[in-house]
Subunit: 255 residues, 2 copies
């Protein structure tokens, strides 16, 4: 039996994305690797799970000398199948990504990449989601790989408290243009959505979701601020969504 | 122009579910109502949005004298389309549900019903998700309607702080078996998943996601505890997922 750490990799851009290949390259030096990744892109799937349809799981030769599977479902489905069906145990570390595009601030809620890491946290597995601020399918992941390795090494060394994971975002650019790592809180922002309305060849209307990301929180301790200033942002993340500060107020209501 | 509150209704069980009809019945007495609801069931879709496919929005006559639309996408898509395309403004109140089945504890993360309410909170709309602890398509919503009305009236009267919403779960049972409302925090639990493996007629394997909900947090201030004791649970909810307590620890790491 190997005593190397067992590292589970998933993502939301599919097993064919450059970002997951970059992450495999980083962590295969740190432990034994299993990949369970979506067969098709699953961006924006958030914490979705597949209830109404069966799931398919197929072996993949995508990575040389690495055990890998594709899954027909969401990133969270991938994590569940990996733990309960493939491994039958919990890995030492779960890493998700490297996502093509930012998952900073409120984007965490919509992100399949980060939802996979949060699912890891729910399962008490030290988990990290990595995202590069570059949507390009051929994005340059060199700087992201450098920081991903440092952060994985530290999580393997220090662990993470139960029920927590890390949301790591890396600015676009060469390594020598980045200033280092900042520990941050999740910034507040929202998508000011705009729908582009079109008409299909048969006269029916349809809409494409578009929009601008409106940052409403200028705090210098936010991930958005760190990224704008060329720092890698690391947000420690948990899944208790209780607005604890509101409990006493609600107890004053006459209900 | 009407001075009645404008109330947006959505859900995740589709516009044809008994639960949303029950919610329409409750809130049509309290304001002017718009329904934008999924055309197909969207349970377990979490905070998913539709990026890779166009969205369809169609008028529906499902509710007498109520403006209603079906949407081809997720509950969060419904909220975005309602605000940015149908209303072109923010409603006074957003209500989601009444869900057929519990969204207590960690279920909030997987829940389309609650993700619609959280999307409302992101948009600074006072928002409430309602769920009945009964998966039956013909469940008895009488007690749920009673409490939904009280809670909607109170939110219309008091408002909710920016960036917050309510997660309301109602035990199964007749009104006189319920003990009232408890303000709670989100309990901690996880799905101990089991996959049922089957083989299709063509020899291919597939999996159904099943599992048991394992409650790991016995706190008497949790929603799970309240529901087990026949109270309606109200969890004030927000969307900052930062593990604030972990920031100082991570700043001690040598990264």
């Amino acid at each position: 039996m190997s005593k190397r750490p067992l590292i589970l990799i998933t993502n939301d851009d599919s097993i064919y994305a450059k970002g997951i290949k970059s992450l495999v390259d980083v962590v295969k030096e740190l432990g034994d690797v299993l990949v369970v990744s979506p067969q098709d892109p699953q961006s924006g799937m958030g914490h979705a799970i597949t209830i109404h349809e069966p799931l398919r799981l197929k072996p993949s030769n995508q990575f040389k000398d690495i055990e890998a599977y594709t899954c027909s479902g969401t990133p969270v489905d991938c994590v569940k199948l990996a733990i309960y069906e493939v491994l039958k145990t919990r890995p030492t570390l779960l890493v998700s990504g490297i996502n093509h595009g930012s998952n900073a601030a409120t984007n965490i809620l919509y992100s399949g990449t980060m939802s996979a890491a949060v699912e890891g946290a729910i399962e008490n597995i030290p988990s990290i989601g990595f995202s590069l601020l570059d949507f390009d399918t051929d994005a340059d992941f060199d700087a992201a790989k450098h920081y991903a390795k440092i952060i994985c090494q530290n999580v393997l060394k220090h662990g993470l408290p139960k029920g927590t994971c890390l949301n790591v975002n890396i600015p676009k650019g060469k390594l020598d243009t980045l200033k280092g790592i900042k520990i941050c809180r999740q910034g507040k922002a929202f998508w000011e959505d705009a729908f582009e309305k079109r008409t299909d060849p048969f006269g029916g209307d349809y809409y494409w979701l578009t929009g601008d990301f409106a940052v409403t929180d200028r705090g210098e301790d936010t991930d958005m601020f760190a990224l704008e200033n060329k720092y890698v942002s690391v947000v420690p993340t948990q899944f208790d969504m209780t607005a604890h500060h509101l409990i006493s107020t609600l107890n004053e209501w006459d209900i």
